[in-house]
């Protein structure tokens, strides 16, 4: 039985949690509000309610250009990282693998290191190789950055697969390739997809590595940063709201996919 005294810590922790959630989410609502109405002297002028700032964004070539760059970078880098993650996960789970721990540390490094280090490393390397900075270097930067999450998700699924599944496939006369194609890949497909959506979310928001490798190209976060330096405007708030909306939708998809469900059926 819990006494009133025992419940006090729960109330305090609940209060802290509530305040933290307000702090984390209030800005989202404020941006949304500022993007559709005018606020003067702390009063909301409801008669100014309009979505015209969203329409202006649509006809702003620099914003639309940044948006299409972001989409291109996200799609290519996630595709590259996903394929690489799949190959690496299959390798590190193979019984003949060499240097497994070392390889994993290298895979996780760009995700764990401060982005300034990853960004600088890629900047210096591309300068040494005489590569022009642009979309291609951003794609590379994002690919190594999101590789860790794609790899981790595939690996976790691979480790959860019952070994009997693979043995059964071999016993039934399937070769290595057939086992991969007809047994492993179908079981990994959903983990690969979840990893890809998660990677997409990260690439969409990535700012710090991009700063170093972007050259004169702009992605959406970089464009937003450049606009922010000038000051506050309803247009920025509209863009901020849209960016948040995309992130939240992607995050909900990931959460929904990762929700614990029944495990792979045994035997």
């Amino acid at each position: 039985m819990r006494s009133a005294g025992d419940r006090l810590p729960l109330w305090i922790a609940g209060l802290v949690t509530g305040l933290v959630f307000i702090l984390l989410y209030l800005p989202v609502f404020i941006s949304l509000l500022f993007s559709i109405v005018e606020i003067r002297q702390g009063k909301i002028l409801w008669e100014t309610l309009s979505f015209r700032h969203y329409v202006t964004l649509w006809s702003n070539p620099s914003v639309m250009g940044a948006f299409s760059n972001t989409a291109i970078v996200a799609l290519i880098s996630v595709a590259v990282a996903t394929v690489l993650a799949l190959v690496l996960a299959l390798y590190t789970e193979w019984e003949g693998a060499i240097g497994r721990r070392m390889l994993e540390l290298v895979i996780y490094l760009p995700f764990l290191l401060p982005p300034i280090v990853t960004g600088l490393a890629l900047l210096v390397a591309s300068a040494e190789l005489g590569l022009n900075r642009g979309l291609a270097t951003i794609v590379l930067g994002h690919a190594v950055f999101v590789l860790a999450v794609a790899y981790r998700l595939v690996l976790t699924r691979l480790q959860a697969l019952p070994h009997s599944l693979i043995e059964a496939s071999f016993d039934l006369g399937a070769g290595r390739f057939q086992t991969l194609r007809y047994v492993l890949l179908p079981h990994l497909a959903s983990a690969v997809m979840t990893g890809a959506v998660l990677a997409l979310t990260l690439s969409f928001d990535e700012t710090l590595i991009s700063t170093f490798v972007a050259g004169d190209q702009m992605t959406l976060p970089l464009r937003l940063w450049a606009m922010m330096r000038v000051g506050f405007s309803p247009e920025i708030n509209a863009l901020v709201t849209l960016v948040l909306l995309v992130s939240i939708i992607l995050a909900i998809i990931v959460a929904w996919r990762m929700k614990p469900r029944g495990q792979v059926e045994e035997g």
């Binding site: 280090v117 979310t201 928001d205 710090l208």
Partner: protein, 280 residues
């Protein structure tokens, strides 16, 4: 072909991609830190001059120590706030627990630059913080105290990196078998004793890992200090960034980034060690 030789060949075939994309770039900037720049030209002779001028010049070394101190503060405050939040979510049951966890983790997916923007507008002269304090009668006129200084950097970093702390603590708490808590209560320990002797020690590795993640992320952050730090919120990340921009001394910037890299690597390895010990 022997079995071992085949294994090595496959290893080389696989490892070449991460080696080219991850190891080689890091190696190239480590190497660059040993060169020197003269009038924007990089002279490729091995020297430790960049390191000696870093440690010898208090402007740089002091900024570095100040940044480490700031990041330790961020880490401490984030744990002090993050632990109760994780604990509260852990105390909930069923779908409410899952929903609260989702709400706590969702900010991880929200754009970094957007969070920075919204926080900056909240802390500013006409921001929500000032409006609220004016409304409550605590302040008589809007205060500049919340923006463009070291404190603003601290507040902003705590808010941004808080979810990175909450998640590992929650995962550590969730791993504690209910039977242990039950046994402790059955044996007559009060809930405070149970917390102090069971929950806290068992969740400590996750807490340390979360704290170190926050520390490492804050350490390299150069945009937050630039956006909310003004002139007093100078961090080593900003100094490094300027070496690759205005100051244009790549080798010196690389040397400072190397020191940052080593500090971060120690943090990461400690976090990994802490997590690997967490086997209940």
């Amino acid at each position: 072909m022997t079995e071992m030789r085949r294994r090595w060949l496959i290893f080389l075939g696989i490892a070449v991609v991460p080696a080219l994309l991850i190891v080689a770039p890091i190696a190239s900037f480590l190497l660059l830190s040993l060169f020197r720049a003269e009038k924007n030209v990089i002279i490729r002779e091995i020297t430790f001059g960049n390191y000696s001028s870093f440690f010898g010049n208090w402007t740089y070394f002091g900024t570095f120590l100040g940044t480490v101190l700031l990041c330790l503060e961020v880490m401490g405050v984030a744990v002090l706030i993050g632990y109760p939040v994780a604990w509260f979510i852990w105390q909930q049951k069923g779908s409410r627990r899952y929903l609260l966890l989702l709400l706590a983790v969702m900010p991880l997916f929200m754009s970094y630059i957007v969070k920075l923007y919204t926080l900056r507008s909240m802390l500013g002269l006409n921001g929500l913080v000032n409006q609220a304090l004016l409304g409550l009668g605590i302040l008589e006129k809007p205060s500049q105290a919340f923006l463009f200084n070291q404190r603003a950097v601290l507040i902003t970093m705590v808010v941004i990196y808080l979810p990175f702390v909450v998640l590992p603590i929650f995962l550590a708490l969730e791993r504690i078998p209910r039977s242990l808590l039950q046994a402790s209560l059955d044996l007559g320990a009060g809930s405070w004793d149970t917390f102090r002797r069971i929950v806290l020690p068992l969740s400590l590795p996750g807490t340390i890992a979360g704290a170190l993640f926050a520390f490492v992320l804050a350490l390299g952050d150069f945009v937050t200090p630039q956006m909310v730090g003004g002139t007093t919120g100078f961090t080593i990340g900003r100094v490094i960034y300027s070496q690759f921009g205005l100051a244009y001394n790549w080798p010196f910037g690389a040397a400072m980034a190397t020191i940052l890299f080593i500090t971060a690597l120690i943090g990461i390895l400690l976090a990994g060690y802490s997590i690997s010990r967490q086997r209940v």
